[in-house]
Amino acid sequence: MSDLSGLRRGQSYYEATARSRISGLLDSNSFQELLGPADRLTSPHLEPLGQPCSFNDGIIIGSGKLHGLSVLIASQEGGFMGGAVGEVHGAKLTGLLERAVNEKPAAVLLLLESGGVRLHEANAGLIAISEVIRALLSTRAAGIPVVGLIGGANGCFGGMGIVARCCDTLIINEEGRLGLSGPDVIETTMGVEEFDSNDRALVWRTVGGKHRYLLGEVQHLVEDDIEAFRATAINIIDEVQSPCLEPLERSSELQKLTLESLQQEHLDLSRRLENYGHCQDGTEIWSEMCIDDPEKLPLMDIPRFFKAVENNI
């Protein structure tokens, strides 16, 4: 393992805490936290259930600079209750998205790592996620791009999986997972025949970063390196900021919701269901995409993976 880490140039996104992801992504020392730990905005709903609280309630929010441009940023801490969303956690995120409408940053970066609703405060968490969705789409309607980053150990699931797909664009690493119902939830409810959550390879073929990239569910697949996430985010935002580009010349990933853009998405999703709806496994879908040796994709490093699929996406 130490050999591997020696090869890596930067810092693993997967292993980093929510706070160190922020400091690695933004220009150094530019982060200004909003409602930080000293404000002690903890969840009041955990103590009665004998659960320890956290001074950040599992999410760090604030402002900073990315390549000199002002951004707002939120980072979910997967280590605390799996990054699950409760009343305070959700309200911090909603507040940040609403602040963006007033402050007009170059972008909002959402570092998503969450199992979805926090069951200890389930009703408040579900409503909070719905509020996040509405706030996020209002932020986009105000012309501010929202970029989602996924790549932590807890993945991005439940209602936050829907939130992720409401962003303009997503960046994921190979280790990142994105879905709705976690494999363990499906196994517990529907049985191990439906989904064996201990089959790690199956889990990654179903909800992992490479598959999500091939499907078009995420737009950017990067190495597990905070620097790679940073470079990709900078590219996305620079493009938005560029005064030379007319709105129509911008990459299609950053556009307001319009009837045309949603009709196009509708067509894409309909085709996906039509083409791959019968498939039982990621490898079957990749095979339908005419990728050679689809069973080898999970083993490839990122450069080899891109080479193997470059003609198919």
């Binding site: 706070r19 730990p37 103590e47 004998g50 659960q51 320890p52 956290s54 001074f55 605390f80 209750m81």
Partner: protein, 105 residues
Amino acid sequence: MEHLEFEFKGSGNRQVDRQATLVGVVSSGNLEVMLENVDLHGLCRINVSTSAQGFTEIWQAVLNDFAARYDLADLQISINDGGATPAVVCLRLDQAMEEYLEALT
């Protein structure tokens, strides 16, 4: 949940002008430690919220050792603990101090 409070008299005068310092994550077997400058008339106060009940004496021993090592005054230390072992608690406290004192050097 159990809430414990400890106070130590310190002579230390190593006040660092900075915002709250926070290290660690609250999870099973882990904890977060926050340090804040507060005028406590020369005391260092440590508040612990822990999900593991009945370990007051162990906390006392670990924190005695910590306080003796650093000799702190006018410092509020707040801990949210998910049942960490004494070794992990020591490690996080040291990390917190390292980060806190970074601004001094």
